[in-house]
């Protein structure tokens, strides 16, 4: 037990470079596997939370732009969403890394972009913005006409009508699908080091450490289920958090309407 505490002390923050410099190399214990894979989850959570948070704002803008009558706003938004939704994340990472490398030669401002913490985050940010943008766009189109008419009747217009009526209703309608998008994005963070960006000094995400152990012990049946366990826990946490927000978004509605909301929309992306 105390050995395990020592392991936790040495490796719990290994993925961000704090603790032992070298990874364990033989006699791998279950404790080491659980600790290091858990340590890698720091990166998955970082990518997931940051991309989702920043992507949310771009997604709103994209949804409004795609719904706009002005082709100068609509066309770019449509293409952006199409390209990012239509291609595998795999390929997006490849091109982004390539692009950032070339930019780096032009200006040293781009130096940090080839590192996963920024470069991969940008790709995930664009990716989730495109998916969420499409979800929000669908929700925008489904806002009951009556709601908007009511807003007009109250003399609201422009920004205040959007902020107080359209936007909250859009979120409410989009929320179940958006929850699924959050889960998918969280799962997609495992691709960052797997195929996209290099891992520096063996600081990687949960999948990086899981495959490290699978490679050293030649037994995939221990590290990957540990990884799966972590992801199930975090997915449940996402579902719980988003459920609470959903309750808040729907708190003004009579209770029997609540369960039906969003069923017309894409429950998953």
């Amino acid at each position: 037990m105390s050995e395990c505490l020592q392991t936790i002390h040495d490796y719990a923050l290994r993925s961000i470079g704090i603790g032992e410099r070298l990874l364990p190399r033989d006699g791998f214990t279950l404790c080491e596997q659980v600790t290091l894979i858990g340590s890698g989850m720091i990166w998955n959570v970082y990518f997931g939370v940051m991309a989702l948070f920043t992507g949310f704002f771009l997604a709103t803008a994209l949804a409004v732009a795609k719904g706009s009558a002005n082709p100068w706003a609509r066309k770019p938004a449509e293409w952006f969403i199409f390209v990012f939704r239509g291609s595998p994340l795999f390929i997006q990472f490849f091109f982004a890394y390539f692009l950032f490398l070339s930019l780096k030669n032009v200006n040293s401002f781009f130096d940090p972009f080839t590192a996963a913490w920024l470069g991969a985050l940008i790709v995930l940010f664009f990716n989730t913005a495109a998916y969420s943008g499409e979800i929000f766009y669908g929700a925008l189109r489904s806002i009951p006409k009556g709601d908007i008419e009511a807003a007009d009747a109250y003399g609201m217009s422009g920004w205040s009508r959007f902020r107080r009526i359209i936007w909250p209703t859009m979120l409410r309608l989009a929320w179940p699908a958006y929850t699924n998008e959050a889960i998918f994005l969280f799962h997609a963070t495992t691709l960052v080091f797997f195929s996209g960006f290099p891992a520096w000094q063996q600081r990687g995400d949960a999948l990086y450490y899981a495959s490290y152990f699978a490679d050293k012990t030649f037994n995939p049946f221990v590290p990957y289920p540990i990884l799966a366990g972590y992801f199930i826990l975090f997915t449940l946490a996402i579902v719980g958090t988003f459920g609470l927000i959903n309750k808040r978004l729907n708190r003004h509605l009579p209770s029997e309407n609540r369960s039906k909301i969003g069923l017309r929309f894409n429950p998953i992306r």
């Binding site: 990874l23 490398l101 290099p198 520096w200 490290y212």
Partner: protein, 242 residues
């Protein structure tokens, strides 16, 4: 010497009775590590190990079928019985030996080497690229250099070319053709690092007979010089031979 070889051959024959003549043996390889194994223009597995493996099978009177498998899962698939041998430029290491069996090496212990884009790179303190989860990656992590890991060997070389890494540590024979054809852009730097106990054929621990049989044939090929001929063909006249 000769009688000894005859002896082992006879032993192998006796031990190998369970494997009937002409039985099919599936040979697992990666197909992405020239000159050991790679995919040729016709889309077939080719390389030093293909030629050696075919010869081994011929002498053992077995039919061999080549199977490609991803490097990461190459050992789990062997122990799970999806193919019977691994010939994939796999160095004999203690940790691998605990899980699978190896024949004696058919390629002498090799040096890994550093390649950089300019002279005078400090490979012990600089940024060194290596393929994820290889013995080279492990070595760099211990050497004190800053390790940067890429999923494929291709990307590690690209990293040196575009300046992401100061140097790459990889198998010497993998690097030679790349350096030769880079027209001076890439060069060997630092001291070569001996890693691993040579390259051997990996088999399941429960397949003792088959292992002994191949082992005996490798001994035979080392003795009659045919292995050296192949080594020279694929790795050049200067390569270490038996």
């Amino acid at each position: 010497m000769k009688s000894l070889i005859m002896g082992t051959a006879a032993l192998a024959l006796a031990a190998g009775m369970a494997f009937a003549q002409g039985q099919t043996i599936r040979m697992g390889t990666e197909g992405a590590y020239p000159p050991y194994n790679f995919i040729n223009d016709a889309g077939e597995v080719d390389g030093f190990e293909r030629e050696l493996g075919d010869e081994l099978c011929k002498r053992a009177e077995l039919t061999c079928e080549w199977v490609k498998n991803d490097w990461d899962s190459i050992i789990p698939n062997l122990v799970s019985g999806n193919y019977d041998t691994i010939m994939a430029g796999m160095s004999i290491t203690d940790e691998r030996d605990q899980v699978i069996d190896f024949t004696q090496n058919y390629f002498p212990p090799t040096a890994s080497a550093y390649v950089a884009a300019s002279d005078g790179v400090d490979v012990l303190n600089g940024v060194v690229a290596a393929q994820t989860a290889t013995i080279q990656a492990g070595h760099v992590a211990e050497s004190g250099a800053t390790l940067v890991e890429f999923a494929t060997p291709e990307e590690t070389i690209a990293a040196v070319r575009n300046g992401e890494a100061d140097a790459v540590l990889a198998d010497y024979d993998f690097l030679v053709p790349l350096v030769e054809e880079s027209s001076g852009e890439l060069m060997f730097v630092g001291e070569p690092v001996p890693l691993g106990g040579g390259i051997g054929m990996g088999l399941r621990e429960s397949d003792g007979e088959l292992r002994d049989r191949f082992d005996a044939i490798i001994t035979e090929m080392k003795a009659d010089g045919s292995l050296n001929t192949m080594l020279k063909k694929w790795f050049g006249e200067d390569t270490t031979t038996y």
